[in-house]
C-alpha cells in the first residue's frame, strides 16, 4: 500500500515539471550560481576596503606612510581619482574632495594624514600632546570600513616606517633614561641610517610592484592618534534601516509581481483570458492593466514597509516623501514589468514558481537584499548592477541616508524605467501566444 502511495507520488512529481525543477534542479542551479560568484573571490577571504588617502603633511614620514598604505593588501587605497580620457592626470584628493566622495557614496572612508605628522608621527607612552591626529571620514552605513582603515593604519605605521619608529624610540629613550654615551649614539645613528636605507629600498620596490603580501596586522594599541568622523548619517539613528527596508521590500516585491503576473496563467487556464480577449480588450490593453495593478500593489507594499520602518525603527520617512515617491514609483514599475515577463515566458504556474524563485533569489543575493553590499567583493558588486535590487537600494540610500536631492537619482531612474520598458516590450512579444492559436 505504501509502495503504491510512493509510486503515485513520484510519478506525479516527475510529470509536474515545475515541481520537479523546484525540487532538484533549482537548488543545484542556485548553488552553482553562488559557487561561480563567490568562487571568483580568490586570494582574500574578505573584500578589500576602499579608502581615499589625503596627505596634508607632505613630509618624508607621511609619504612613506602613504606608500605603505598603497601596499597594504586589505586596502584599496587611492590618493587621487582614476585617470580618464577627460582628465588623464587627476590631482591628489584634498580633505574636501575626499569628504565629498564619501558623502556621495563613491568611497566608504577617507584617511586624512594631518599636517605635522612628520614631526610627531607616533607616540610612545602618555603625554604626547604634540602628536597630530589622523582623521578618518566615513559613511556609517558601512560600519566595517572605518575600523579596518584604523587598524591597517596602525599596522602600516609599524611596518612601513622602521627608521621613524627607531628615531622616535631613541628620542623617548633620551627623554626618559637620560641619553646615550657618544659611542652608543654613534652606533645608534649607524643603525638608523641602515634602517632608512632599507625603508627607501622597500618604497622603491613597492613603487614598481604595487601592493604586496604583508604579514599579519599588528595591533599596537594606540601608536597613532585617530579620530573617526561620520560624515554621512552622523545624526541618523540606524544606518541599515532604509537599506533593508528597500532590500527586503524589493525582494518580496519581485515575488508579488511574479504572482500577480501569474494571474494571466490562471485566467488562461480557466478560459477567462479567452473570454476577455474576445471582448473589446486587446492584449496590449490587458497587459497594461495587469502591469498597472501589479505596480500599484508593489507601491502599496513598499509604502507600508517604509511606514513600518518609520514607526518601529524611527526611519526619517516624512521628510523624504518626494524622493520616496519617485523611487517607489520607478521601482514598482520595474518589478511589475519583470513579473509580466516571467508570466509571459512560462506556460504553467509550476514553471512560473520554479523560474521566478531561482531568478528572484539570485537577484536578491547579488543585488544586496540578503546581505549588505559592503561585505561584497568588487566582482559581486559589478554583477549586482544587473539586478533591480541593487539600483533600488542605491536610490533609497541616496534619499534616506545621504539626503541627496531627487536630481541625484538620474542613474536609478534611467536604469529602472529603461529596464521596465524593455521588459514590458519583451513580455508583450511573448504574450502573443495568448492572442491567437
Amino acid at each position: 500500500m505504501i509502495g503504491t502511495i510512493l509510486q503515485t507520488s513520484f510519478r506525479s512529481l516527475r510529470r509536474d515539471r515545475g515541481a520537479f525543477v523546484m525540487s532538484f534542479i533549482l537548488p543545484i542551479g542556485f548553488f552553482t550560481i553562488f559557487g561561480f560568484v563567490f568562487g571568483s573571490m580568490r586570494g582574500s577571504s574578505t573584500p578589500r576596503v576602499s579608502v581615499l588617502v589625503v596627505d596634508e603633511d607632505h613630509s618624508d614620514a607621511s609619504k612613506s606612510l602613504v606608500r605603505g598604505l598603497l601596499r597594504e593588501p586589505s586596502l584599496d587605497a587611492m590618493t587621487h581619482p582614476r585617470a580618464t580620457k577627460e582628465n588623464p592626470a587627476p590631482g591628489d584628493y584634498t580633505a574636501a574632495t575626499a569628504e565629498a566622495e564619501v558623502r556621495s557614496g563613491d568611497a566608504p572612508a577617507a584617511l586624512i594624514i594631518p599636517a605635522g605628522f612628520g614631526a610627531h608621527p607616533i607616540a610612545f607612552g602618555p603625554g604626547s600632546t604634540q602628536q597630530a591626529k589622523f582623521r578618518i571620514l566615513h559613511d556609517s552605513s558601512d560600519p566595517v570600513a572605518a575600523q579596518v582603515v584604523a587598524g591597517m593604519l596602525e599596522k602600516t605605521v609599524m611596518i612601513s616606517m622602521p627608521a621613524t619608529m627607531a628615531a622616535v624610540g631613541s628620542q623617548y629613550f633620551d627623554r626618559e633614561i637620560g641619553g646615550l654615551t657618544p659611542k652608543q649614539r654613534q652606533q645608534m645613528d649607524q643603525g638608523l641610517a641602515a634602517l632608512r636605507k632599507r625603508q627607501d629600498q622597500q618604497d622603491a620596490q613597492s613603487a614598481g610592484t604595487g601592493p604586496s603580501a604583508a604579514g599579519p596586522a599588528a595591533d599596537s594599541g594606540g601608536l597613532v592618534a585617530v579620530e573617526i568622523q561620520d560624515v554621512v548619517g552622523e545624526k541618523k539613528k540606524s544606518p541599515m534601516i532604509s537599506y533593508y527596508a528597500a532590500g527586503v521590500g524589493v525582494m518580496f516585491l519581485l515575488f508579488t509581481a511574479s504572482a500577480a503576473g501569474g494571474s494571466l496563467l490562471d485566467e488562461s487556464e480557466s478560459g477567462a483570458l479567452d473570454r476577455v480577449l474576445s471582448a473589446r480588450v486587446t492584449m496590449t490593453t490587458l497587459l497594461v492593466g495587469k502591469l498597472t495593478y501589479s505596480a500599484l500593489l508593489a507601491f502599496a507594499q513598499l509604502t507600508i514597509m517604509f511606514l513600518w520602518a518609520a514607526l518601529v525603527f524611527h526611519l526619517d520617512f516624512f521628510t523624504h516623501i518626494p524622493g520616496f515617491l519617485v523611487m517607489t514609483a520607478i521601482t514598482s514599475f520595474a518589478v511589475a514589468s519583470f513579473g509580466m515577463l516571467l508570466a509571459s515566458v512560462t506556460r504553467t504556474r509550476g514553471q512560473l514558481g520554479a523560474f521566478s524563485t531561482l531568478i528572484i533569489l539570485t537577484m536578491s543575493a547579488l543585488g544586496g537584499s540578503m546581505f549588505p553590499k559592503f561585505l561584497m567583493s568588487d566582482a559581486m558588486l559589478k554583477v549586482g548592477y544587473f539586478t533591480f535590487n541593487s539600483w533600488a537600494i542605491s536610490g533609497y540610500q541616496k534619499i534616506f541616508w545621504r539626503d541627496e536631492p531627487i536630481s541625484s537619482l538620474g542613474p536609478e531612474i534611467a536604469v529602472l524605467v529603461g529596464s521596465g520598458v524593455v521588459l514590458f516590450v519583451v513580455a508583450r512579444w511573448f504574450a502573443r501566444k495568448w492572442e491567437y492559436v
Binding site: 478560459g271 473570454r275 474576445s278
Partner: protein, 323 residues
C-alpha cells in the same frame, strides 16, 4: 425546409442593410500536419438556433474559436453581421459562452458581470441595466452578492452564460452550456435559451446531448474530420440518412464472425458488439434474427426505434455523440 433556410440566409446576405448574422466561408486551419478545420462554409439566418454537433476531435472547438476570433485562420473568412471577425463591430455583436467556467471565482456574481460588461464597453446606467437584466435572466438576482465559489454548479453555469450576454449581443455562441449540471438546472438553462430565441437572438449551440439539439435547434450541422458532413433540420437529416425506415440496434455476444462484414451485407454498420441496421417494416426484424442465428451470432437484445439525431450521428460518424 433546407431550401427555405438557405434561401433566407442568402436573401439576407445580399441585403447590405440586413446582413447575415454569421457567415463562415471556406475556413481552414492546420496545426502542423493535423487539419483541424478543412474548408468549412455555412451561414446562419437571423433568429435561428444553429446546432453544431461533432465527436471529440472533429474540429468543433477550433471552428468555434475561429468564429470568436481566437484563431489565426490559414484561409477563409468569418463575418458577423457583415463585419470581419475580430473587428470592433463584430465583437459587439457576438456573445460567447465558453464551455469552461470563464468567470472570476473570488468575485461575486454582480462583480463578474460588472467586469465583463466593462470589457464590452458598457458604463453607467447601461451597465447597471445590463447587470439587472442578466441577473434576472439567469435567475441569480437573489445571489448577486455571492462569490462565485459559493454557488452551485448550475448557478455557475448560468452566470457563465450571463457574462457572455452582458452586452446583449445579436449573435450568441453557447458552447456546451449544460456540461456538468443536474437535470433541474439544465431545464432552467433551456428556458434561458428559449427566452433568448423569443427575443430574436441568433444562437449557435454546441452540445453532446442529442435531446438538447432536438429540443432547441432548428438547424443542425454535423462536423467530422474538420468538415461539415451534413446539415439541415432534424427531419431532413433523418430522412436523408434513413428515409422512412426504422433503425434496429442489435447487441450480440462474443463471436468470431466478422461483425462489420455481416452488418454491411445487410446495409448496416457495426461497432464493437453493436449492429445497426434499418428496416422498412417491423416484421423484417424476424428475418434479421433468423440470419443472425443461422450465422452463429448470439443476439442479446434487439431494439427497434424510429431514427433520431442520435441515429443519424452514429450513421454518419460511426461514433456515439457522447463517446
Amino acid at each position: 425546409m433546407l431550401g427555405s433556410f438557405l434561401s433566407l440566409a442568402h436573401c439576407m446576405s445580399g441585403d447590405p442593410t440586413n446582413p447575415v448574422p454569421l457567415r463562415v466561408d471556406a475556413v481552414a486551419k492546420h496545426f502542423g500536419a493535423v487539419t483541424a478545420v478543412d474548408g468549412v462554409s455555412f451561414e446562419i439566418a437571423a433568429g435561428a438556433c444553429f446546432g453544431l454537433l461533432g465527436p471529440n476531435g472533429a474540429g468543433k472547438s477550433t471552428l468555434i474559436r475561429s468564429i470568436v476570433g481566437r484563431v489565426r485562420l490559414d484561409s477563409g473568412s468569418v463575418s458577423i453581421f457583415g463585419h470581419p471577425v475580430g473587428s470592433s463591430a463584430a465583437r459587439a455583436d457576438l456573445g460567447w459562452v465558453p464551455q469552461e467556467l470563464a468567470v472570476y471565482p473570488l468575485l461575486t456574481c454582480r462583480e463578474n458581470l460588472q467586469a465583463f460588461g466593462r470589457y464590452q464597453g458598457l458604463h453607467g446606467k447601461a451597465l447597471d441595466d445590463a447587470i439587472a437584466w442578466c441577473l434576472e435572466w439567469a435567475a441569480l438576482a437573489d445571489r448577486a452578492g455571492s462569490p462565485v465559489r459559493t454557488l452551485s454548479g448550475g448557478m455557475k453555469r448560468r452566470l457563465n452564460m450571463a457574462a457572455g450576454l452582458i452586452h446583449r449581443p445579436r449573435l450568441v455562441l453557447l458552447d456546451e452550456p449544460t456540461v456538468g449540471v443536474d437535470p433541474q438546472s439544465r431545464n432552467r438553462i433551456f428556458e434561458m435559451v428559449e427566452a433568448l430565441r423569443s427575443q430574436g437572438t441568433t444562437i449557435i449551440y454546441t452540445t453532446h446531448y442529442m435531446e438538447e439539439a432536438e429540443r432547441l435547434c432548428d438547424w443542425i450541422a454535423i462536423i467530422d474530420h474538420g468538415q461539415i458532413i451534413a446539415q439541415g433540420t432534424k427531419e431532413t437529416l433523418v430522412a436523408r440518412a434513413f428515409g422512412s425506415r426504422s433503425s434496429v440496434t442489435m447487441h450480440v455476444g462474443a463471436t468470431r464472425v466478422d461483425l462489420a462484414a455481416w452488418a454491411a451485407a445487410r446495409g448496416g454498420t457495426a461497432q464493437d458488439s453493436v449492429v445497426l441496421c434499418s428496416v422498412e417494416k417491423p416484421a423484417e426484424i424476424a428475418g434479421l434474427l433468423e440470419a443472425a442465428s443461422g450465422d452463429g451470432l448470439e443476439v442479446l437484445d434487439v431494439t427497434l426505434q424510429r431514427p433520431n439525431l442520435e441515429s443519424v450521428f452514429l450513421q454518419l460518424t460511426g461514433k456515439e455523440l457522447r463517446a
